[in-house]
């Protein structure tokens, strides 16, 4: 018997009322009015994977171009656009949004509530992300794709060396996507602070929720930096300010400082959610509580702080004072400590548990292997003399693909495999899963390991070709072959997911025997997540307390959730969440008009703001709420705000 049936039998919940209150809007127009976190989260994930495929195609094009010396597949200009778009897509349109999507989908379920704290803002964030991505790709297909690298260093990206609109498209795409990331960060932090199920005190928060909490704080303090500098760059390019113009007292180095003040935390913004996923997978398949919960949480918090003190290690080759370089070398080496603590905790959990090597755990094993190699090359280039040798070479390309794909994408695939049954109600195929894992793992290493050697031999990044005399041809060809194996691995994974979502065997509510409360809901979960909000009495409630007491007295006839306090999750008050509405979509449209117009003419900023006034008023205008006396008699459920 599912928990939902039990609750109905016990008469604590009016399921039909809950169903009516939380029902998603229907029809084509309904798609634009959606505010449920499950739907918005899934949209983020699907959209991000579409951009992942686009970024992957760009990667393959680059690999084909580099497969042999003096290849003529791509001309230098197209090559520049493609590597810039590849980097920008993977960082801004795939890695961050997919993690946000996982957070939006999972966090409310994992903390035991029914939606995020600001559902309309959540929808708005998704549309901003979508429009930003479409805007960038509109540029790419019109042959005005950005071509100054995903970090757009000035003065190359400035008005003098990059006329036209290419970098403006890039800079404005940043504004779109960062806005989206920021609203998700705010709503997740507030959801985690104020909407946890009663009893889920700080020391019982699931690891992935901790990870999203820390990641969101990093987003909140890192993303404003890139919004500020991309805005300043836009002004330099369009209205003649001089922020990065040395002729009038500006400083191109200012760009690098602000950009990397964002750019380094960005790496951890991608990586920290993956750490959270790993802890759940390791715990579930080791069949024992995670070892070192406190150490893991504290290590992640430490990572969040130290992540802000590393940015200069991207700038060792710019001639900074030696004291500064030494400081950032020390900080860069220091961050290996909390990462090491976490890896040892996971290994110890597996060691002392009764591990079963299911596919998600296989991915985690792959993660540990790849990430440790990436971490080791990271410690190497944290040292200034070595960094100066390999700066701007393929050694760096190898390093950051080892940490980003190894540290984030591989655990993400494991995480998707792990939560796929919850999201769709169906299991992915294990045999195909094994195949896709090994293709990915082997293909990845064949692609990127040779790049270490190429880099040490001096092959520079961001060049569209090289001479045959350099002797780099063989390793490059090997890397290109590897890239195709890797791509086939990803394709097999996607096909597996697509086919399983249609024909996979039914999953049941807790197919892996996992420990956290999201597994107590049916798969896929109903729109309200939980028929009854559970009371949490332990860190692994599904293992130690499978039949918990529940929260009663929430009004099922409207979108009501429980607000609890931050430290101990004691109930404070009930809270009515808004239902479906078109205003977030319309606001995203008017904001987009303003943003895109600004690329061409600054006054559009004003027109965009003026236009946005209408949807904003519509959004905040209070609607009639059901009167309590009508509610009592059961006929007041229509007027939910």
């Amino acid at each position: 018997m599912t928990p939902t049936q039990e609750a109905v039998e016990r008469g604590t919940v009016d399921l039909s009322a809950l169903d009516r209150s939380w029902a998603p809007p229907q029809g084509l127009l309904g798609w634009f009015r959606q505010v449920n976190h499950q739907n918005i989260g899934k949209r983020y994930i699907v959209t991000a994977f579409i951009f992942f495929i686009l970024g992957g195609i760009e990667a393959l094009l680059m690999r084909l171009q580099l497969a042999q010396p003096q290849n003529r597949l791509l001309n230098p200009d197209l090559y520049n656009q493609i590597f810039t778009t590849h980097g920008s897509t993977m960082m801004f349109l795939f890695a961050v949004p997919v993690m946000e999507g996982m957070g939006v989908y999972l966090v409310p379920m994992m903390v035991g509530t029914r939606n995020v704290a600001f559902p309309r803002l959540n929808a708005f964030g998704y549309y901003m992300y979508l429009f930003g991505g479409l805007f960038l790709y509109a540029g790419v297909f019109l042959h005005i794709g950005p071509d100054a690298g995903w970090f757009a260093y000035t003065p190359l990206s400035g008005p003098l060396y990059d006329p036209g609109k290419r970098t403006d498209f890039w800079a404005q795409m940043i504004t779109f996507t960062e806005m989206s990331a920021l609203v998700v960060a705010v709503e997740l932090i507030v959801t985690i602070m104020k909407m946890r199920a009663p009893g889920m005190s700080l020391n019982r928060i699931p690891m992935f929720v901790w990870a999203m909490f820390i990641q969101s704080f990093m987003v909140m303090f890192a993303m404003p930096a890139v919004m500020a500098c991309s805005g300043m760059l836009l002004f330099d390019r369009s209205v003649g300010t001089h922020f990065f113009n040395p002729a009038e007292g500006g400083d191109p180095m200012l760009w690098q400082h602000i950009f990397w003040f964002f750019g380094h935390p960005e790496v951890y913004i991608i990586f920290v959610p993956a750490l959270g996923m790993i802890s759940h997978i390791v715990e579930t398949f080791s069949r024992r509580p995670i070892l070192g919960y406190t150490a893991l949480v504290l290590s992640q918090i430490a990572t969040g702080f130290i992540g802000f003190g590393l940015w200069v290690h991207h700038m060792f080759a710019t001639g900074l004072p030696q004291l500064g370089e030494s400081f950032f070398t020390a900080a860069s080496m220091m961050i290996a400590i909390p990462t090491g603590v976490q890896i040892f905790c996971w290994i110890a959990t597996i060691w002392t548990g009764r591990p079963t090597l299911k596919i998600p755990l296989l991915y985690i094993a792959g993660f540990i292997a790849i990430f440790v190699i990436g971490g080791l090359s990271g410690v190497m280039i944290a040292s200034v003399p070595l960094d100066l040798q390999v700066h701007d070479t393929f050694f760096i390309v190898a390093h950051f693909h080892y940490v980003l794909i190894g540290g984030a994408v591989v655990p993400l695939l494991g995480g998707i495999y792990f939560w796929f049954p919850k999201m769709t109600g169906r299991m992915m195929n294990d045999a195909v899963g094994t195949l896709s894992f090994w293709l990915t793992f082997i293909g990845f290493n064949i692609t990127f390991f040779p790049m270490h050697i190429l880099g040490l031999h001096g092959m520079p990044r961001r060049v569209y070709t090289y001479l045959p005399q350099t002797g780099w041809g063989d390793l490059n060809l090997l890397a290109t072959c590897g890239a195709f194996i890797l791509a086939i691995g990803f394709i097999v994974f996607v096909l597996n997911a697509l086919s399983a979502s249609q024909n996979g065997p039914a999953a049941g509510s807790n197919p892996w025997g996992s420990s956290n409360i999201e597994w107590s809901t049916p798969s896929p979960p109903p729109h309200y997540n939980f028929a009854n909000i559970p009371v949490i009495r332990g860190r692994e409630p599904m293992w130690t307390d499978p039949e918990p007491p529940v929260v009663t007295g929430l009004d099922d006839s409207r979108r009501e959730v429980l607000v609890t306090n931050t430290l101990d999750a004691e109930p404070e008050h009930r809270y009515i969440l808004p239902g479906p509405t078109i205003w977030p979509f319309l606001l995203a449209v008017t904001t987009t008009i303003g943003f895109i117009g600004t690329v061409f003419q600054m006054w559009w900023g004003v027109w965009g703001a003026a236009l946005s006034f209408i949807p904003l008023v519509g959004w905040f205008w209070p609607r009639e709420r059901p009167r309590p006396d009508l509610l009592e008699s059961g006929c007041g459920s229509g007027g939910i705000e």
Binding site: V190, K194, F221, G240, G249, D251, L254, N532, T552, E572
Partner: protein, 202 residues
């Protein structure tokens, strides 16, 4: 499932104020984000300033102190009616809410008008040099915030005028006030930076 240990939340209120309200926290974090943007601009200002022996560059006359000083006093004073509006809202005194909100909006509009004159009196443009660029972006960004919250206050006032004031609108008034405190609070260090600091350097 045991009925024992169930928590009945029906007696709890449907709204919380201050740090109990999710909306309050949302606003606080919005302020963190916007505050971070200002901090980054200020840090950039000093980063660039290090490269100069004379600041502002000798070719530029820094803005005079008189009018901006009057204006910041006006801005600081506008906090009082905003605070009183919030207090009146908590007590449910609709009349006082309306009067104080109106007073706040009039002061805010006055502030914005004088701000316009400040802009006109700058002896430099954003295109003049790096100093001009920074002054215009910092004052401009702050002005955008001030305009946004003034418009927001007007909408809140309109809602109070047209609709029955219930708990949710009270929360709206408090949150609107919180944002105005942010607009006023950020201007104090920015005023010192933009107007006082360059005059001290002479």
């Amino acid at each position: 499932m045991t009925a024992e240990g169930n928590i009945n939340v029906a007696p709890l209120p449907t709204i919380g104020f201050g740090s109990r309200a999710p909306l309050w926290w949302g606003q606080v974090y919005m302020m963190c984000i916007e505050g971070t943007i200002f901090v980054i601009l200020v840090a950039s200002y000093f980063f660039v300033r290090i490269g100069f022996t004379h600041w502002p560059p000798p070719s530029v006359i820094p803005p005079a102190l008189g009018l901006p000083t009057f204006n910041i006093l006006l801005l600081l004073a506008s906090v009082i009616p905003m605070y009183l509006a919030g207090e009146a809202a908590l007590k449910g005194e609709r009349g006082k809410v309306i009067v104080n909100m109106m007073l706040n909006i009039v002061m805010a509009l006055g502030f914005l008008f004088i701000r316009l004159i400040e802009f006109n009196r700058f002896s430099f443009k954003w295109t003049t040099d790096i100093y001009g660029s920074f002054v215009w972006i910092i004052v401009g960004l702050h002005t955008m915030h001030a305009i946004a919250d003034t418009v927001q206050s007007m909408v809140v006032l309109l809602i109070v005028l047209l609709k029955r004031v219930d708990e949710k609108q009270l929360l709206g008034i408090k949150i609107d006030g919180l944002y105005w405190y942010f607009v006023v609070g950020t201007w104090v260090p920015l005023y010192l930076l933009v107007y006082v600091y360059p005059n001290l350097q002479k």
